[in-house]
């Protein structure tokens, strides 16, 4: 028996070894109606697990812990779920608000901030325990509360977000989480609907209520929020917008920023040295995501209803349209592999994911998924603003 013990130990440890898993090439796919999260492997194009009953995920987004072990899922119904990618299980889930839109993880990975519509504001949690650390109600005017959009993390343990109803941008400093410091920028433009942080420095909010973008340079916040591209789209020229663009994936390629126009079927190219519009590229519908391949050579664009069956690719060198693809019915989201050789598409009405080779632009794999609406790879863990 004593002779057998070491052998037994060896066999047992071998078993454990066989199940070891790294998370750097994993991702989360959201099934919007079922409220499920799929854990996928992006190297093998396989589904590893399905985590069920995560609530209303009709507008879900995901951030990853800096060790890439945990995924934090923000649901529409105010749910915040922490998924363990190593053990294929839900680690913890809380309902932190009535209606929420997204979230971010702090520079040091210790804080999770969520932006809420109802009650309007930002709540900050410990990424370890999901315990509440700070509660920032978005109060403006005479005690009214605003929906919060465009929440991103910024260097220096800060978060930046916009108040949709108030037209304000707030800079939240959590170096000392017990005493949050807030710097408010007022009258920054009507109805900011989403925002993005470029290069960890420029916070840019898209405006729905008036034309142009609101720009805050985090290297120089004292200069205040500037308006970029005012008066570009006249009110009477505006086309109906059936889905708000998402700015999260805003593409930066060298000195150029590729931006979805709103109320115009165009992608705008902005030179960020002067914040001037240098070119507009007509596309086939209202752009939703305008995302750069990680090397920024290609810009992929998907569209709002009724043009969401197609995807267009812009050549960032020629600054022109290179190709139109018809991947399937209702392409809702796109996610590049970390170095960009492939891109995954969520095709809602075909109940599947498609993987494209970004060089040949051919489909190379398909995975089943029930009404997928979002794809998030763990490499986001190490990117500011994602």
């Amino acid at each position: 028996m004593t002779r057998l013990l070491p052998l037994l130990c060896f066999i047992l440890s071998f078993n454990v070894l066989a199940e070891l898993r790294a998370t750097g090439d994993l991702g989360i796919v959201i099934e919007r109606e079922k409220g499920n999260a799929l854990i996928v492997n992006t190297t093998k194009h396989t589904q590893l697990a399905k985590i069920e009953k995560l609530g209303d995920l009709s507008h879900a987004s995901v951030v990853f812990s800096r060790d890439e072990r945990y995924a934090f899922i923000f649901g529409r119904d105010g749910g915040l779920s922490k998924i363990d990618l190593l053990q294929d299980k839900l680690n913890k889930r809380i309902i932190q608000a009535g209606n929420s839109i997204g979230g971010a993880i702090s520079q040091d990975g210790k804080l999770i901030a969520v932006s809420n519509y109802e009650p309007g504001g930002v709540k900050v949690f410990s990424s370890d325990t999901l315990e509440l650390v700070a509660d920032i109600p978005a109060v403006y005017g005479e005690g009214k509360r605003s929906k919060v959009v465009g929440l991103v993390d910024a260097p220096g343990q800060r978060f930046v977000f916009s108040l949709f109803d108030a037209g304000e941008i707030w800079l939240l400093d959590l170096k000392n989480p017990k005493t949050p410091a807030i710097k408010k920028f007022l009258n920054t433009g009507k109805q900011p609907y989403d925002a993005v942080i470029a290069e960890g420095r420029y916070y840019i909010a898209g405006l729905f209520g008036e034309s142009g973008l609101a720009l805050l340079d985090l290297w120089n916040p004292e200069a205040g929020v500037k308006r970029v591209l005012p008066d570009y789209v006249k009110d009477d020229e505006k086309l109906p917008v059936y889905k708000m663009p998402h700015l999260e994936g805003w593409a930066v390629a060298g000195d150029y920023l590729f931006v979805p126009a709103i109320g115009k079927h165009e992608v705008w190219i902005i030179d960020k040295r002067q914040w001037k519009l240098i070119k507009t590229i007509p596309v086939l519908g209202q752009p939703v995501f305008v995302m750069a391949r990680p090397d920024a050579r290609q810009i992929w664009v998907n569209f709002a209803f009724p043009d969401n069956n197609q995807v267009q690719i812009i050549d960032a060198n020629e600054l022109s349209l290179a190709k139109t693809l018809a991947p399937g019915k209702a392409v809702l989201h796109m996610e590049f592999t970390p170095r960009g050789e492939q891109v995954w598409l969520a095709i809602r009405d075909d109940n599947r994911l498609a993987v494209y080779d970004t060089e040949t632009l051919e489909e190379i794999a398909r995975l089943p998924a029930d009404k997928p609406n979002g794809i998030f790879f763990s490499a986001r863990a190490h990117k500011t603003g994602l």
Binding site: R32, E33, D56, S58, H59, R76, D77, N99, I101, Y117, E118, K147, F164, Q191, Y193, F208, G209, P240, V241, Y242, K243, M244, F305, P306, A330, R348, D349
Partner: protein, 101 residues
């Protein structure tokens, strides 16, 4: 009595022009997916307001149909006239008022 008459009128009009089963399916999908993008998958609200029986109570059908067909200027609510007929808009409002039906 007047109310009842009006109700009968409306519901019978609704019946006469009820969309085909296939079209109903498309419209229901549209409601969760495309309207849901702003009003929430369960229509409890998002960027747009909740479209629940309680929140719609007291607002006339024709008023809401006009909102759906023509949108509301100065807000994010877009016009759907290109994709939805007047009858279909009224049918959708019926669904919104009675989600279980």
């Amino acid at each position: 009595m007047e109310k009842l008459l009006l109700l009968m009128l409306f519901s019978s009009a609704g019946f006469a022009s009820e969309p085909s089963a296939e079209r109903q399916n498309t419209l229901r999908n549209m409601l969760t997916n495309d309207c849901g993008a702003c009003h929430g998958l369960t229509l409890k609200g998002g960027m747009g307001p909740a479209l629940l029986p309680d929140t719609l109570a007291g607002k006339p059908d024709e008023f809401l149909a006009a909102t759906i067909l023509d949108g509301r200027k100065g807000t994010a609510m877009p016009p759907w006239r290109q994709f939805i007929s007047h009858e279909e808009a009224l049918w959708l409002i019926g669904i919104l008022r009675k989600p279980e039906s």
